[in-house]
């Protein structure tokens, strides 16, 4: 009866030590065969296996353990695979995305429990509590959806719905009323333009998901500055161990060094970079290139300046390059120089912290500034006013794909009733976000936009 295979995370939202994804249905063995490597051909039920999950480009996503439970001896009564990964929401969502692309469907709220009940795994007396669970979870989703409808995000959703209704109505009118002069006026170029607009809006909404994902993934902080300014020393102080190689030779750190701390409950990735300076050395050049690349993925930059320097010309040159970044300035080696004697302080765009990485001075101040930044950064929602969740993200992604297919067919001059199929697919897939669009709604759109009258 319930042949399709469903997937969902079963551990709570947010960062945890371990994450669990459950697949249920008769396709789950086929799906994990493509997902996990190595996968045993003959899985012994209820035994824990170790494996790696690869994405479609064959990159390792995570090392995981998994358990197979055979129908009917599983929670749902169907073939079930439970995958235990590391607890990062990013990893869990990637695993779910892969399962979806391999033919699973996102489980409805409470659907595992419902299946357990329907398959006789939960007895009659529990039926009511199953129903309560389903409706409670659904209610939660309704709340999320209602939240989405507010603000600029809501306006976008509304505009997609209205536009889709209008263009489907437009094409339908030309099919059902071929003799009406009013209803047969649609032209393909115009139609393509309008679909493109919808697609742009959807793409924007999808980007809010990727943005949100990145925040959930952690805040990225990069330490940068000219060579030998003490970046690695600062890194060492922050982590309280010799993570970077600290030597007095300019350009020691040639690779990017990374460390993770948890500040205010948020994962913070610190990166120590090779110093920047004009150089002929090939390895150095590569280091600089990497720094710039790292900087492009950075949320906050700690820019270190050497207190002993007479001039900051070179620093100002680089600072100018990164002026669109959030920057905390720190003047290092303050143990060697008297603060009052530094003449160039007011040339720096913003008042710096004074530190000595060597003597562990002023480090607390940097930490406070970093903490303040993180609090502000994570509380600030994306510019859309809301970030979509994974379920919505999948709807949007599929909807976009169907619209793309519709466009391809429109360009190839495929007949109206055929390319409409993809527009209906898009509509159906998006309905979870934009609301149901019934045939009646489409007829309403036709009659309010065209004068039908034969």
């Amino acid at each position: 009866m319930y042949k399709d295979t469903i997937v969902a995370r079963t551990t709570a939202e947010g960062q945890g030590a371990v994450g669990m994804v459950r697949l249920s249905g008769d396709q789950c063995l086929r799906i994990i065969a493509k997902l996990i490597n190595p996968v045993k051909t003959e899985l012994v039920p209820r035994r824990l296996y170790l494996g790696k999950i690869y994405d479609l480009k064959n990159n390792v996503i995570d090392e995981i353990t998994y358990i197979f439970c055979q129908s009917p001896s599983s929670f749902t009564g169907e073939d079930t695979v439970e995958i235990f990964s590391h607890g990062s929401p990013v990893i869990i969502n990637m695993i779910i995305d892969l399962c979806l692309s391999l033919g699973a469907r996102m489980a409805l709220p409470g659907e595992f429990t419902k299946r357990a009940f329907m398959n006789g795994k939960i007895d009659l007396t529990q039926a009511e509590s199953v129903a309560e669970l389903v409706s409670a979870q659904a209610e939660e989703e309704v709340k999320i959806a209602a939240q989405m409808l507010g603000g600029s995000f809501g306006r976008k959703i509304k505009s997609i719905r209205e536009e889709l209704l209008l263009i489907i109505g437009w094409v339908e009118a030309s099919i059902d009323f071929p003799e009406e002069d009013d209803a047969t006026t649609f032209n393909r170029d115009n139609l393509l333009g309008r679909i493109k607009n919808i697609m742009d809006t959807i793409t924007l909404m999808i980007s809010s998901y990727t943005e949100g994902q990145r925040i959930r993934n952690g805040v990225h902080i990069t330490i940068a500055g000219l060579t030998n300014v003490g970046k690695s020393s600062l890194m060492n102080v922050l982590f309280d161990k010799e993570k970077s190689i600290v030597t007095p030779i300019h350009g020691t750190t040639r690779d990017v060094i990374e460390g993770t701390l948890t500040i205010s409950g948020i994962r913070v990735v610190f990166r120590d970079t090779a110093g920047i300076r004009k150089t002929d050395c090939a390895i150095e050049k590569e280091g600089i290139k990497r720094t710039k690349k790292v900087l492009s993925q950075t949320d906050l930059l700690i820019y270190l300046i050497d207190a002993e320097k007479k001039s900051v010309q070179e620093d100002l040159f680089f600072i100018n390059e990164f002026k669109d970044k959030k920057i905390i300035y720190a003047v290092n080696k303050i143990d060697c120089v008297n603060k009052e004697n530094i003449r160039w302080i007011n040339k720096i765009p913003q008042y710096p912290c004074f530190i000595s990485a060597l003597k562990h001075e002023g480090i607390k101040e940097i930490k406070i500034q970093v903490e303040n930044f993180i609090k502000k950064f994570t509380s600030q929602k994306s510019n859309l006013g809301y970030t979509v969740n994974q379920r919505h993200y999948n709807c949007l992604k599929d909807g976009l794909e169907f619209l793309r297919k519709a466009c391809a067919e429109i360009k190839q001059n495929v007949s109206e009733e055929l390319f409409l199929e993809y527009m209906y697919d898009a509509k159906n897939r998006l309905s979870e976000i934009i609301g149901e669009i019934s045939p009646e709604d489409i007829l309403n759109s036709i009659f309010s936009n065209f004068c039908i009258g034969k």
Binding site: M1, K114, L124, A127, V134, A136, D176, F177, S415, L443
Partner: protein, 617 residues
């Protein structure tokens, strides 16, 4: 007068398009049938436009033919212009339409009924439906206190409490100049049926020689003419053109200056009219920027000079109508022979019928046609046929025939009616059919002939022919998939838009088929190969829905007991009483989570008390 009480298997009340099919089907299935009509001369009258078919309607006519109904054959015999619409698009939305000679249509149908074995025609007015213990037992007419029957089908069209308007004048009538059946309406109300009210209208009829044909465009018949029915090889009547003209600036002014005289705009008519068929005054008001509106001038027949002004419905007073029509290009001196009118009428809300068209509360009582809130000859005929078939099957003790949504427009229509009470007269559109690509005119026989044959309405000869056609097509499609051509198969080559089946043999890619393929076979082969991907996709969707469609919900199911069901969903479900989970899912305002909850409770019912559940079903 003797005391002998007449007894029939099936009585059909009303002789319109629904009534004719509803009476013919049981009679042909061997049951003693009576049709009662208020006037034998108006049997199968085309009260509105002189045409059969069109988008989605042509599809219905083909389906009626494939099931063994009569409309297609009569339409062909009375056709005076054939056109196929939408030929620039794909075959799923090609649609046939004929202009009909109204009188020939009517008389051909009447004679068909008269000749039908087992069928009796009676001119009389039905005053009461007899119901004992929620079961129909017979009828009373003005002249006969009791005629007994096992099944009664009501197909009274707009005659239930019909009220005609021309301007602010109104009179009780079922059709212009005819009585309405007020007593029957009351009798149904007394039985507890809920009634709704709808509105429709019809445009003026004008005198042919008062039209200036130099000022209007001619719309000729198609060159290739394909009859609806398998039984008709060629249209017997002369084929003549229709004409197209337009309203003018002056039309707008006349209408704007006289809106206060409209019963609609002054609020006298309360029923809701069809948006796909607005009055001319509606068009001007709702689309003020549109410069001119198209008006079709259609002949009403070969032996009359009356013409039908399609697109010019109105319920304004006669003098204003005259001014409006005379403002239309080519109609400057037009003579109106019959004025346009609006009509309000009762219908029985469709939450009270089952998919067999039997009423939920009174066993043996069936409803078909406009009484179910539909509009159109084809929609009515299709329901009449299904009501007739199901009434007969139930007497014969056989399983009922319910067409599913993926099987035909008939199924889409009846399912739509059950899940939603029409708010305007329900008309079929192809956009209502989610499996539109599967429901084509060209494959109506493939879809229905087995049903028609099984119930005894389609003769062996036709059935064998269709089966042979299906076999030929299947064999050839298989062969084309096996023949290699370059790096592909012949079938794949045929998928190219510019390639036709006949090119394959011409280019020596295939040897001509051993079967003698006719145009119909070839057409089918091309469609099956060229649209294979789309067809497969829709078939997959059908399969996905099947589990929901097969899950029955007992009529007495108490949605209030379902914990967590949103009150909006519960309300909709209680109102529409879906018969299956599939129907429940289609009700607007009911979402998949609601369905999950209902499923849990159905399963609970199933486990706790299988016997009760089976009894309820």
């Amino acid at each position: 007068m003797s005391n002998f009480i007449e007894q029939y298997d099936v009585i059909v009340v009303g002789g319109g398009h629904a009534g004719c099919e509803a009476a013919l089907a049981p009679a042909r299935m061997g049951l003693k049938t009576l049709m009662v009509t208020m006037n034998l001369d108006t049997i199968a009258q085309m009260s509105c436009n002189p045409a059969i078919g069109g988008l989605a309607k042509g599809h219905l006519v083909k389906e009626i033919d494939a099931l063994g109904g009569e409309m297609a054959r009569v339409a062909d015999l009375s056709a005076i212009q054939f056109r196929r619409l939408n030929t620039k698009k794909g075959p799923a939305v090609w649609a046939s339409r004929v202009q009909s000679d109204k009188k020939i249509y009517q008389f051909t149908m009447k004679q068909t009924l008269e000749k039908q074995h087992n069928l009796t025609l009676l001119q009389d007015t039905v005053t009461d439906i007899h119901i004992t213990n929620k079961k129909v037992t017979g009828i009373s007419t003005r002249y006969k206190p009791l005629i007994k029957a096992h099944r009664v089908i009501i197909s009274t069209g707009t005659f239930l409490n019909g009220l005609i308007y021309i301007g602010k004048k109104s009179c009780e009538s079922g059709r212009f100049g005819e009585f309405s059946s007020k007593r029957l309406s009351q009798s149904l109300k007394n039985e507890g049926f809920k009634l709704g009210r709808l509105k429709t209208g019809t445009p003026p009829r004008i005198l042919r020689r008062s039209v200036d044909f130099n000022k209007v465009q001619t719309q000729p018949p198609d060159d290739i003419k394909i009859p609806f029915s398998r039984l008709i090889k060629k249209f017997p009547l002369e084929q003549i053109p229709c004409y197209i003209t337009y309203t003018t600036q002056n039309t707008k002014e006349v209408i704007r200056n006289n809106l206060d005289k409209s019963p609609l705009y002054s609020g006298i008519i309360k029923g809701i009219g069809p948006r796909y068929c607005p009055s001319i005054e509606d068009k001007i008001v709702k689309f003020p920027d549109k410069e001119k509106h198209q008006i079709f001038i259609e002949p009403e027949g070969l032996t009359t000079e009356e013409m039908y002004l399609n697109g010019a419905s109105s319920s304004l007073p006669e003098d204003v109508q005259q001014d409006i029509m005379r403002s239309i290009t080519g109609l400057e001196n037009v003579q109106i022979m019959r004025y346009a009118y609006g009509i309000e009428y009762d219908f029985i809300t469709t939450d009270q019928i089952l998919p067999t068209l039997e009423t939920r509360t009174v066993s043996g009582l069936y409803l078909a046609g406009q009484i179910n809130g539909t509009s159109g000859y084809e929609e009515a005929a299709a329901q009449g046929l299904m009501a007739g078939i199901n009434a007969a099957l139930s007497i014969q003790g056989k399983d009922s025939l319910i067409i599913k949504r993926h099987e035909g427009y008939i199924g889409v229509m009846i399912d739509d009616l059950i899940i939603k009470i029409p708010e305007e007269p329900y008309r079929m559109f192809t956009s209502r059919a989610e499996y539109r690509l599967l429901l084509r005119e060209d494959n109506a026989y493939q879809r229905f002939v087995s049903y028609g044959h099984n119930i005894g309405l389609v003769p062996d000869k036709v059935y064998d022919e269709v089966m042979y056609h299906i076999k030929k097509v299947k064999t050839e499609v298989k062969r084309l998939n096996e023949i290699k051509y370059q790096d592909m198969t012949a079938a794949k080559y045929l998928k190219r838009p510019e390639i036709r089946y006949n090119d394959l043999a011409e280019k020596n890619i295939i040897k001509p088929s051993a079967d003698n393929l006719n145009n119909n076979d070839i057409n089918q082969i091309e469609i099956e190969i060229k649209y294979e991907g789309y067809i497969a996709k829709q078939q997959a969707q059908v399969k996905k829905m099947r589990k929901y469609e097969s899950w029955k919900i007992p009529q007495s199911f108490d949605y209030k007991k379902v914990v967590g069901l949103r009150s909006e969903a519960a309300e909709k479900l209680m109102q529409n009483k879906p018969v299956t989970l599939g129907q429940a899912l289609r009700i607007s305002g009911v979402n998949p989570v609601d369905i999950q909850l209902v499923m849990i409770y159905l399963e609970r019912l199933n486990r706790s008390d299988k016997k009760t559940l089976n009894r309820l079903l």
